[in-house]
Subunit: 457 residues, 2 copies
């Protein structure tokens, strides 16, 4: 950990300790003892800031609850971890966590009809409208993770034994959401380029229909899959599904929040996004958006009546289990939202940086890109079996030689020990950082006698 | 907002801005421009701390993303809101949010078999074991809210049309969890004291059996209910349920994290707790604990196989949808856990403070306690129809006169405008604060000519 990073954490923590004194006091103000404690905590923060570059304090000074080390991956390194990149918080989201961390912090001004998405202070109701607009859908709900959005849809549409079409590259949470609802996944095969096409979807629907004598209840399609981040023909798939009157769930875990997503143009009946994967939000968080046609089903309100009390909770939505994403996670999503909206407009620039890195890796003798090429996403899978893995074969640290080298250069997030097929994500890295990445990967390669084609980039 | 509270937030936010500079830089360190920006941000934090009591900055200085006001309810007031009390964060949990806010922050060292509860750095696996021990159950999982724990159990046990027994004071999320699984709730009537007894449970089971020719699949019982926070005979109810071989779900939303809970002694098959309600954790968070007998069912792993790829995700648990509570919420739960464990040992002291406040309100002419008395919980429902509501009848602000008076005295959380039946929760307030509460409620009463029995307390 760099000393400055540690000191900034120490100062933040000292201020939280000072804040706690304010929390414990009466509305009438601090008594003399509290004043002394408060002053001491503030003085500690001041001392830390006054000596920001001086060592002296132990790393334990930042340990949380005596046992938890702080996490400084984003401060100390360039993080190319495949799923973490676009879930990195904005400074505004971090401030939201500071201000809204307490359990039911969103619920201070909850009034009739008592539902999260109706709260106007903080402006949660307006955020829901903006979310729907952002995705060009009719209505949106926040959910504790994309998987909970999948579950709401499958649990609404799928009965026991019903087939549900997914892609052969579908994320495991789609499998689970179908299984939890009692359904059975049927995969659309990918083509030679590892891409799902409309034709393959039509064939699969026919196959399922022929075999089971029933039509699938739902088609779930990842716009970009988690394995290669290849782009699949979501519009074509949606068109085919609709020809059979099957609704389509667009899995935007890798798109919503990083690139423009127009649900209506895609023809999606449900758009699901992940807050912690692609919307600069804390986990768990996500979004489920749908159309006016489907909202009455997936967002149906409770019909249950207590047989003794006759109680009804009519406004509460069954699949949402009432209120969904209370507290800090929601406010952090809201705090990141303006930046998130804006960044989706810069997707082309992100693709340029991604290509720059991929080309830089490609220039290392024996390195291949397993994802479709040229890249349409910042997440990519590369194959270094004929480059870094050749080194690993004879290195005493085996595959960890690469992790060691990267770590020494302040690069984290590549799977530790992996030197064959592995993934990286350049989302949100500055040009300075992507250049640093390429330089360092190529330097490592040359250090171990792998040839590098030095092209003008 | 008090000026000091504002300044502490401003300083925290200035440090987050400084931290952002460290995040944007290369591993090789700040360049001269970054150094300047970093120094400016730190200087801003220093200036704020040096002038902690001087007005000058606008309240907008703490606005998040330009639109979100900060929340200072816990700093500026005594908060007696019924559901917020025990979900207030510890300072350690707040530090955890600062350090682990980024989306997939828990997943840096995720290794085979790739499941959240198996991660050992940070010590998530050990936390799961400690959680189970804490509740005296065999196995525990974290979930995004107690309701998601209910859902996992109902979705496992309940088939379409199956009856599920709940209390006539059951929380609405139990209704929804049953409904989402396709079941039907059947309520156990409460007795004259608004308490659920074992006998009433047996009668209800018999009644359901007689009417539907089938036994209920599950009994869900709130140890303390959300309306009165009366204590229900959970051991007796569990015993009766087991006589019919029906498993019991113990809803500990109001107990787990504030008082000792011994699942085995209760006879619970499932223990559910709420992080944001009672474990000093951010929303959404919660715990589901179960026995070795029931774990293979409710925590069953996926059996789904991809028909094209033959993919299996064998380690992932269906009802958990794989990994559950990644990120900051989990680490904050872990950070609060030592303090939470300890505070459950001080439940008697919390009850004394609760009684002190309830007695103090009782001393106001015409005030009644609707919850069972003496109180066994810190959440209580009082009836001020014959006291404060009498004032409201003729006051030009109607019921809001009480909110106004309380707010002026720095007391928040009573439902705005309510002067008849309303709830309060004293959990976690110091003796100094509960004395302040009683004094101020009684002063307000006397100001409006309500008699107060001044007893030596």
């Amino acid at each position: 950990m760099s000393i400055r990073v540690q000191k900034v954490f120490e100062a933040l923590f000292a201020l939280e300790d000072a804040r706690e004194v304010l929390r414990q006091t009466l509305p009438t103000g601090l008594d003399p003892d509290e004043e002394t404690v408060f002053r001491t905590k503030i003085a500690r923060a001041q001392a830390i800031l006054d000596n920001l570059d001086e060592r002296g304090s132990s790393p334990g000074a930042t340990r949380i609850a005596g046992t938890l080390d702080i996490r400084t991956r984003e401060e100390d390194t360039i993080n190319i971890q495949p799923i973490q990149a676009a879930g990195r918080l904005t400074p505004e989201a971090r401030k939201a966590l500071i201000a809204y961390g307490d359990g039911y912090s969103t619920c201070d001004a909850c009034r009739k009809p008592f539902r999260l998405d109706k709260i106007s202070r903080p402006p949660i109701a307006a955020f829901h409208e903006n979310l729907a607009k952002f995705l060009n859908m009719d209505i949106a709900r926040v959910v504790p993770g994309a998987r909970r959005g999948f579950q709401a849809v499958t649990n609404t549409l799928v009965e026991k034994g019903d087939p549900v079409i997914v892609s052969a590259l579908a994320h495991y949470t789609e499998f689970l959401a179908v299984e939890a609802a009692g359904g059975v996944v049927r995969e659309i095969p990918v083509n030679a380029q590892n891409v799902v096409t409309a034709d393959a979807t039509a064939e699969k629907i026919e196959e399922v229909h022929y075999e089971t004598r029933r039509l699938p209840k739902l088609v779930m399609i990842d716009h970009f899959d988690y394995q290669f981040a290849n782009e699949h023909d979501v519009r074509g798939v949606a068109k085919v599904a609709h020809q059979y009157d099957i609704p389509i769930l667009y899995n935007g875990a890798y798109t919503v929040g990083v690139m423009p997503v127009d649900g209506k143009a895609i023809g999606a009946d449900f758009v699901i996004g992940s807050g912690h994967k692609s919307m600069a939000s804390p986990a768990p968080s996500g979004v489920l958006a749908t159309t006016e046609e489907w909202a009455p089903e997936v967002l149906r309100t409770t019909a249950m009546v207590g047989d003794v009390t006759n109680r009804k909770f009519g406004i509460k939505e069954v699949e949402m289990l009432g209120c969904t994403l209370m507290g800090a996670n929601l406010i952090a999503m809201m705090a990141s939202f303006p930046a998130v909206k804006e960044r989706t407009m810069c997707w082309d620039e992100e693709l340029k940086k991604s290509s720059y890195v991929i080309d830089g890796l490609h220039a290392i003798e024996g390195t291949n890109v397993l994802s479709e090429y040229p890249r349409k996403h910042t997440l990519s899978k590369v194959d270094t079996t004929a480059s870094f893995d050749r080194v690993a074969c004879t290195h005493k640290r085996r595959g960890f030689f690469l992790s060691d080298e990267l770590s020494r250069r302040g690069i984290t997030g590549a799977f530790a020990g992996a030197t064959r097929a592995w993934k990286l994500n350049t989302y949100g890295l500055s040009w300075k950082k992507v250049r640093y990445l390429v330089e360092n990967f190529q330097e490592i390669a040359e250090k171990y006698d792998l040839a590098v084609r030095r092209e003008k980039q």
